[in-house]
């Protein structure tokens, strides 16, 4: 009897594994509802409580979903920024040493020296807000209160000439802010624009005339000297 039951349980496991059978190269794109249909529930784990979720559920989307209550002015943000951000990012967002530049760079993206900053590159305000909320200040993450968070993001917008000095960022004003480079992104198009890389008969012999070395890494001499015992 118990043997039968365990055999049935094993069979159920195999059935669920069969649904995970290896797939071909083409990415299968099943509708979500269909894909999860027929899967069993194991009754493992427990229901997450709302207050538990609230502590970790800190993501913010472009449409503002996930924004906390709070508000902060450019002026209040300047104080937060100078105290907690300027040491690495510079007083004007210019970046210190190898720490990231976060202001300026508008119009540089097509140049030889593109500068990807909050103002020049980030497509959505949420991308900035969500990042600061998750990760900044570096080494003291998730330490800012919501008002400080709104304020410092308002100041970043000001540093990037996206808003004026009187701006106050809040749940309500968030939706009105448009980032300058929002239209600068398009979804992956490699299968169309790089179609030529799919080639049934790549050349095998005499594929080009003379071959010349055109540049060499050793001229730059930026490779780290190897540490530790040397190979013998």
């Amino acid at each position: 009897m118990s043997k039968c039951r365990s055999a049935a349980a094993v069979a159920a496991v195999f059935l669920s594994l069969a649904l995970l059978a290896p797939r071909g190269v083409a990415q299968t794109r099943k509708p979500a509802a269909e894909a999860s249909a027929g899967q069993r529930v194991y009754g493992i784990g427990r229901e997450a409580k709302a207050e538990e979720i609230a502590g970790w559920d800190i993501d913010v989307r472009p449409d503002g979903q996930g924004l906390p209550d709070g508000r902060g002015s450019v002026k209040a943000g300047e104080a937060v920024y100078m105290a907690k951000c300027a040491a690495c990012h510079g007083e004007f967002g210019e970046g210190s040493g190898r720490w990231p530049q976060i202001a300026g760079g508008r119009g540089s993206l097509a140049s030889d020296d593109p500068s990807k900053t909050v103002g020049s590159y980030f497509p959505y305000l949420s991308s900035v807000f969500d990042y600061v909320r998750h990760s900044m200040p570096f080494g003291d993450a998730q330490s800012l209160g919501n008002h400080e968070l709104y304020a410092v993001v308002a100041y970043l917008l000001f540093l990037n000439d996206v808003v004026d000095e009187n701006f106050v960022l809040s749940k309500e004003t968030f939706a009105k802010v448009r980032m300058p480079n929002e239209a600068g992104f398009h979804d992956d198009d490699r299968e169309r624009t790089e179609r030529a890389f799919w080639n049934r008969k790549p050349c095998m012999t005499d594929c080009k005339a003379a071959v010349k070395i055109i540049n060499r890494a050793r001229v730059l001499d930026v490779t780290p000297q190897e540490a530790g015992p040397k190979p013998r």
Binding site: L17, S36, R40, I44, S135, A217, G228
Partner: protein, 427 residues
């Protein structure tokens, strides 16, 4: 953080390379030196009997968790300090030139952290699954281990692998040019099973995977991919994940860029649109020459590299020479790898030895008789979709040089008559 693929600014290192000593060794060996010159202690060579043959060594369990031989200490992950402002948000590279086969030893798998290594007590680990689900779940590590599990060998390549080489040959070593990849066996729970457990709502289109590290780094993954083949892994190569690889649990996103394989996974949220997080907008997007950028370039294109000979693995002899390397494709299996000895003028198919698996590394070999002439070594991966790894020139024609990410161009190593090897580009 400064991206590791950004070119160096002011603080470039200007030290000469180990290469010179290696070259001196290689040079003498090439002309055929007395082998006793190379021995650490000629008294250990026959007809003498060395001490390890005369006296007892350590007993069992003297090394309860085994480590490599003390003579292999040079085999290590290395970083390039000028790349980043701090080591907490930086990268270390797999020593590909010291490895063979397709499996990366766990302790040598490259690292990329955005806020340092989170050290999580497994008792205090929690994974939350919530959002557009019927029942939000709270899972412990013990819970995760109770679900049916799968074993999969996959490569994991950082989107920025070879990112320092967009503007030309820059780093002399395949550890540095190609070492942001590893290939291991992962064990874990298919995401599909967890989502079914929580009860996916029909509006579900994307999931957000978020880490518990000091960057709480998150990425959006299309629901179709999550349901297709993503896994929440807690083991690599049989043992529990290493802390630097996301202990106790990470996301596995087969064939897609490494940044999406969120480590120290604490939360999966189901939603109806992508989150457009910083790591999928300001970072891990591919800036083109005209100033526009590609976004959601998830798949890693087919790529290969010769791991030896390479700048850190010079040639020490004439005669028969084994040329070896790795190839992989995010679109499926590698079908063929071609090797060139003359900088891409002529090619021949290499021999693939060992397992050929879907979206895993394959190991290839090509033997030649080397007489001390200059060689320009290249390899070219072709996958089962017919994609042929492009030259760097062909790639730049489309992607420019500001992309940072997704540089899968063909690598050239110049083998000099001395046996030294350097990173070059050819016409």
């Amino acid at each position: 953080m400064a991206d590791p693929a950004d070119p160096p600014s002011s603080d470039r290192l200007s030290r000469r390379r180990l290469l010179q000593s290696a070259a001196a060794l290689g040079g003498s060996a090439v002309v055929g030196a007395d082998e006793s010159v190379l021995a650490a202690n000629p008294n250990n060579l026959p007809p003498n009997v060395p001490p390890w043959t005369r006296s007892l060594g350590d007993g069992v369990a003297a090394r309860p968790y085994g480590q490599p031989s003390k003579f292999e200490k040079h085999v290590m992950r290395r970083d390039v300090q000028w790349l980043t402002a701090s080591r907490e948000s930086s990268v270390s590279f797999t020593p590909l030139h010291e490895l063979d086969g397709i499996i990366t030893p766990s302790g040598l798998a490259f690292e990329r952290h955005h806020g340092g290594i989170a050290e999580i007590d497994p008792e205090d680990y929690r994974l939350m699954v919530h959002g557009l689900v019927g029942k939000p779940l709270m899972l412990t590590l013990a819970d995760l281990k109770r679900f049916p599990r799968v074993n999969r060998i996959y490569f994991l390549e950082c989107a920025a692998n070879s990112g320092m080489e967009w503007r030309g040959a820059q780093l002399d070593g395949c550890q540095y040019t190609h070492g942001m990849i590893h290939c291991v066996e992962y064990t874990g729970v298919p995401v599909k099973i967890l989502l079914a457990e929580a009860g996916l709502k029909t509006a579900a289109k994307w999931i957000l995977a978020e880490g518990a590290d000091a960057a709480a780094m998150g990425r959006s993954v299309p629901i179709a991919k999550a349901l297709d083949d993503c896994v929440i892994a807690y083991r690599m190569n049989g043992e529990m994940l290493r802390p630097e690889q996301g202990y106790p649990a990470r996301l596995v996103v087969p064939g897609w860029e490494g940044n999406m394989w969120v480590k120290w996974l604490r939360r999966i949220k189901v939603g109806d649109q992508p989150w457009q997080a910083r790591e999928e907008t300001a970072k891990y997007t591919d800036l083109l020459a005209d100033g526009r950028a590609r976004r959601f370039t998830f798949v890693m294109d087919a790529k290969s590299v010769i791991t030896a000979p390479s700048p850190q693995a010079p040639v020490a002899h004439k005669g028969f020479l084994v040329v070896t390397g790795l190839a992989w494709s995010g679109r499926g299996k590698v079908r063929r790898v071609d090797v060139s000895f003359d900088g891409g003028r002529n090619w021949r198919a290499a021999r693939i030895d060992g397992l050929v698996l879907d979206r895993a590394c394959v190991r290839f070999y090509a033997g030649i008789e080397w007489h001390g002439e200059d060689l320009l070594l290249q390899s070219r991966a072709i996958d089962e979709t017919g994609y042929v790894q492009p030259t760097k020139g062909d790639l730049r024609k489309i992607r420019g040089v500001n992309s940072v990410y997704h540089n899968n161009g063909i690598q050239t190593w110049h083998v000099l008559p001395s046996g030294e090897v350097e990173n070059v580009e050819v016409s």
